[in-house]
């Protein structure tokens, strides 16, 4: 298969998978096999493009032209390759996890769950491989819509409220701000193509470019820069595997990925460096990092703490992008991958704890490490990576982010990174501590009606398998960061 067709297949395969999944509605095992097969094939397809991209080729294909000059088209470049590899690999793991999780919870509507999941992944692929900003926008909106049924899967009042926030924030920002930026860019330049060096330089004044940048950064609500971040905690009403893949990887990373794309290919980093607004927005991202981390400190619900931590970590990447230096871009790209692996591990663990013990609050987790050693060991790995302690993946990306901050002499950025590292430690290490070193809260377990058998031992094997794989990945990426690093270095065109 030619690379062009492979690109098309990468987007089409998950978008068409729901047909097969729905057809197998009555037979759960073949249905889940279909999901696993699709995700496996998708990863192989994406991986097969990887060599070509590293060699410098940019397979491209155009699909349709809804408006004259505005094409739905795909073009693979290193950053998109990286995002696609991450999302497609973690889809396989999450599918394994989902099977264990949904079956042990006896969730309803499993068929539609797997169907929408596949559509969401297809949208993520479309975002990753988008050849122009218009295509990216189309799949960006499709991702919001296809994940809405997943977020509201429970179907109760809480889910409806959370879904409202989710849809309101994401569609609101994207229609009012991002679409405005798109129309404006289009009317100024007559193109929305991604070009190295950007399309705006020489066309607009720094003032207009500043307004446009504000519209883009806040319009990409999925990047959750404050004050457009509240949808993320609200979306935690979703089942845990959804939170894990979509709100640690596909949706939020699609947001920061779009930010990076806009910075690199719409504005161009050289042009942005001369706009004063860039620095102000960087401070907004820096403030988001610290504020979200402080809020995370105060959360007792484990998933909510993870959600706030995600907001904080996403702004790392936005801040990197706005450092407008090649090293910052490398740092941002690496952080997409490294944070993705670590955060999905943490979410998997939160789900495993819920499955095995029905506990959602951190204050209930005393001594849980004795019952669930695998889960909590994986959680520890994820937590260390979030803080950035070697030998975990988080160290690598933090290293490049710091290098970028130092290179541009941004004392604020460097200071924020160090401060937030301390905050990360302050909200993750206590969980590890209580899990392993506190004695279990016996009064709780001896409560009448409490099923003590459930609290003994680990979650279902498939769940544990999935979280072990991602934890191992978090460790492995510290020793073998070559694959993402090569891609990012090719993008920035330099050596570290």
């Amino acid at each position: 298969m030619s690379p062009e067709l492979t690109v098309l297949a990468c987007v089409a395969l998950p978008l068409l998978a729901p047909a097969l999944i729905t057809a197998l509605h009555r037979w759960p095992n073949p249905r889940e096999t279909a999901t696993l097969l699709t995700s496996g094939c998708l990863f192989l397809l994406v991986y097969s493009l990887h060599d070509d991209v590293l060699r410098g080729s940019r397979p491209a294909i155009d699909l349709a032209e809804p408006l004259p000059g505005l094409k739905i088209g795909f073009e693979v470049e290193p950053l998109g390759m990286l995002f696609a590899l991450l999302a497609s690999f973690l889809w396989i793991v999450t599918s394994v996890y989902s099977i264990g999780y949904l079956r042990s919870h006896h969730e309803w509507r499993q068929t539609s769950y797997y169907s929408y999941f596949a559509v969401a992944l297809g949208s993520a692929m479309g975002i990753a491989f988008a050849g122009n900003m218009f295509t990216l926008f189309v799949f960006y909106e499709l991702l919001t819509l296809s994940t809405y049924p997943l977020v509201t899967h429970a179907g109760d009042d809480n889910a409806r409220e959370g879904g409202r926030m989710y849809l309101g924030y994401l569609l609101g920002t994207s229609i009012i701000l991002l679409l405005l930026a798109l129309v404006w860019t289009w009317s100024l330049t007559g193109t929305l193509d991604f070009r190295a060096g950007g399309i705006l330089e020489g066309v607009v004044t720094p003032g207009v470019a500043g307004i446009l940048l504000v519209l883009y950064i806040f319009g990409i609500g999925k990047a959750a820069v404050m004050p457009f971040h509240l949808w993320l905690p609200a979306a935690m009403v979703a089942p845990t595997p959804v939170s894990a893949l979509l709100h640690a990887v596909a949706v939020v990373k699609a947001g920061v990925f779009t930010v990076l794309k806009v910075v690199i290919y719409i504005f161009g980093i050289d042009f942005l460096a001369n706009i004063p607004v860039t620095q102000w927005l960087m401070y907004v991202a820096a403030a988001t990092i610290l504020l979200a981390a402080i809020v995370a400190l105060r959360q007792d619900n484990l998933k909510l703490r993870l959600a706030w931590s995600t907001i904080s970590q996403l702004s790392y990447i936005v801040m990197c992008a706005l450092l407008v230096t090649p090293l910052g871009i490398v740092g941002g790209g690496m952080h997409i991958v490294m944070h993705g692996f670590a955060k999905i591990t943490l979410f998997f663990c939160a789900g495993a704890i819920l499955t095995a013990t029905h506990k959602t609050r951190i204050s209930e987790l005393n001594g849980i490490g004795r019952h669930m050693p695998w889960t909590m060991a994986a959680f520890t790995v994820g937590a260390l990576s979030m803080i950035g302690i070697p030998p975990t993946a988080g160290f690598i990306s933090k290293w490049y982010i710091l290098l970028g901050a130092i290179e541009t002499r941004e004392a604020v950025a460097a200071g924020v990174i160090i401060m937030s590292t301390l905050l990360n430690a302050a909200y993750f290490l206590p969980i590890v501590y209580v899990a392993f070193f506190r004695t279990p809260n016996d009064t709780l377990e001896s409560m009448p009606g409490h099923n003590t058998r459930d609290t003994d031992g680990e979650a279902p094997p498939l769940v544990v398998l999935a979280l072990t794989v991602t934890a191992a990945g978090t460790l492995a990426l510290f020793f073998l960061p070559d694959l993402p690093l090569d891609l990012m270095l090719q993008l920035s065109g330099g050596s570290p």
Partner: protein
């Protein structure tokens, strides 16, 4: 010979079929007659579009009396688009109508229904194809009178009040138009639109012509339900039979907009309308008010048909907003939205028609958990709703894009923000329905509810299909509207 007669056949076929429907005793036969007529109309409309595309503006002299003495039918690209809109909706609601009408209208009235439907179709098509100002009034009255009857056939007694209200407002509007046309005739001695446009500049500065302009503008604005002259519309759409709501919502107001375009650009000329009479500023203000207020009112409606009716008032605001910019881009954007909105609203009202067939109600409180019992209908409703909001890959997005670009290139900054922000109000009122249908627990009455029959689902989904197709590839529509807008503006500049 037949090819050159297409413009008149377009009008004559439904006109001739109408009395046949009344004579046929059997409702099935009447339905078949109307079905065949409306499909023939669609076939002719398609041929007309093709011919206008190939040879340019068509002119047809009725009874071979040459204009300006005889009545001229004149179809340019803008007219061809309108003919297409009316014909598509007309042809698609007919297969839908049989089951829906059996359910909602007394059997003895069925023949009358199809007769009035064909007359209304004939009137709307006639308004579009005619090049004669008085003839336009005649067709306007044909379509209006028949639509009063159609609305009054609604199953609830309130339909009579709604029809009466529409009758009063519609008659005022028609009278205003007649007065305007009379004044024009008095000053110029002609009724042919092209002829009028050539003679008007000599007398343009007289108060009579200004009065004529005002009468025509206000009269047509009532017909197209421009805010704040929309009071008749919500009741009419809510209480009419489902098929009628779909047909009238998708076509009648749109033809009104087209008539406004014809008068502004062809008859009075752009310079007179927009520079001397400042109608652009007035329309823009009313359009903005209409978009905001009607959208907000739609949020608080508990009857889904009424909600869609207020949404229609808001969407007409978008169309008028494009026209009020008085640029080729703006007019073209308005016409794109005119086509798209006809398809969107047609689909939404048909979906509500399916729901009405099974529930016997369009109240929000009766739709709890409906999506589990009527998944295809609700999916169509959601798809139409997404298009209304303007999600990419739907036709609504194309409209929004063109409207926003036109506003940008005209330098109307606040309008761009308004256009985008108001689509979020659309999100709010569409999502109220989605939440009720998908999240609420079905009531006990729900168990008997089944999915709507295929004959009703297929037309609904065909309209949704047109929406999605235009969203994927809008080149066909944008080509037609660009040419149409250029002809209108070009005529106006001459």
């Amino acid at each position: 010979m037949l090819i050159s007669d297409l413009p008149v056949l377009q009008v004559v076929i439904p006109l001739a079929a109408a009395p046949v429907c009344l004579l046929l005793r059997n409702p099935r036969h009447a339905w078949a007659c109307a079905l065949i007529a409306s499909w023939l109309v669609l076939a002719i409309a398609l041929m007309l579009v093709q011919r206008v595309h190939a040879v340019g503006t068509l002119s047809y002299a009725i009874g071979a009396w040459v204009a300006p003495w005889g009545i001229e039918y004149r179809i340019d690209m803008a007219g061809a688009l309108m003919v297409l809109v009316v014909a598509i909706i007309g042809a698609l609601v007919m297969p839908f109508a049989r089951r829906s009408i059996e359910h909602e209208i007394l059997e003895k009235c069925t023949g009358l229904f199809y007769t009035c439907y064909l007359l209304c179709l004939c009137g709307l098509l006639g308004m579009v194809v005619t090049g004669d100002a008085f003839n336009l009034f005649v067709f306007l009255e044909i379509s209006s009178l028949s639509s009063y009857v159609l609305i009054s056939l609604g199953s609830r007694r309130r339909a009579l009040t709604a029809a009466y209200q529409y009758l009063i407002m519609g008659t005022i509007g028609a009278t205003f138009i007649l007065i305007g046309v009379g004044l024009l005739y008095m000053m110029t001695g002609t009724l042919n639109m092209v002829d009028l446009s050539q003679r008007l500049p000599e007398v343009a500065n007289t108060r009579t012509i200004m009065a004529a302009f005002a009468f025509v503008t206000v009269g047509v604005s009532i017909k197209l339900a421009l805010f704040p002259l929309h009071q008749w519309l919500p009741n009419a759409y809510t209480d009419a039979p489902s098929v009628v709501s779909a047909f009238i919502a998708a076509t009648a107001t749109k033809v009104g907009v087209y008539v406004l375009l014809r008068f502004f650009f062809t008859v009075f000329g752009m310079q007179f309308s927009f520079d001397a009479m400042h109608v652009g500023e007035i329309l823009m203000l009313l359009a903005v008010a209409g978009i905001l207020i009607a959208s907000l009112v739609a949020v608080f409606q508990d009857n889904v048909k009424r909600m869609l009716a207020y949404s229609s008032v808001a969407q007409i605001g978008y169309i008028i907003l494009g026209i009020s910019m008085a640029s080729a881009a703006g007019v073209s954007a308005g016409m794109i939205h005119l086509f798209n909105h006809a398809m969107i609203k047609g689909a939404l009202f048909l979906a509500i028609g399916c729901i009405f067939l099974r529930l016997g109600s369009a109240e929000l409180r009766d739709m709890h958990g409906l999506a589990r019992h009527m998944p295809w209908t609700m999916a169509a409703f959601v798809a139409g709703g997404l298009s209304l909001i303007g999600i990419p890959l739907t036709s609504g997005f194309i409209s929004k894009w063109y409207l926003a670009s036109a506003a940008l290139s005209g330098g109307y900054w606040p309008l761009v923000v308004l256009i985008l922000a108001s689509s979020l109000i659309g999100l709010i009122y569409m999502w109220r329905v989605v939440e009720v249908a998908y999240f609420h627990v079905p009531g006990t009455m729900m168990h008997k509810v089944r999915e709507a029959p295929a004959v009703m689902l297929i037309p609904t989904w065909l309209l949704i299909g047109i929406n999605l197709y235009v969203g994927m590839d809008a080149s066909l529509i944008t080509d037609i509207t660009r040419q149409g807008a250029e002809i209108l503006i070009g005529e106006a500049l001459q």
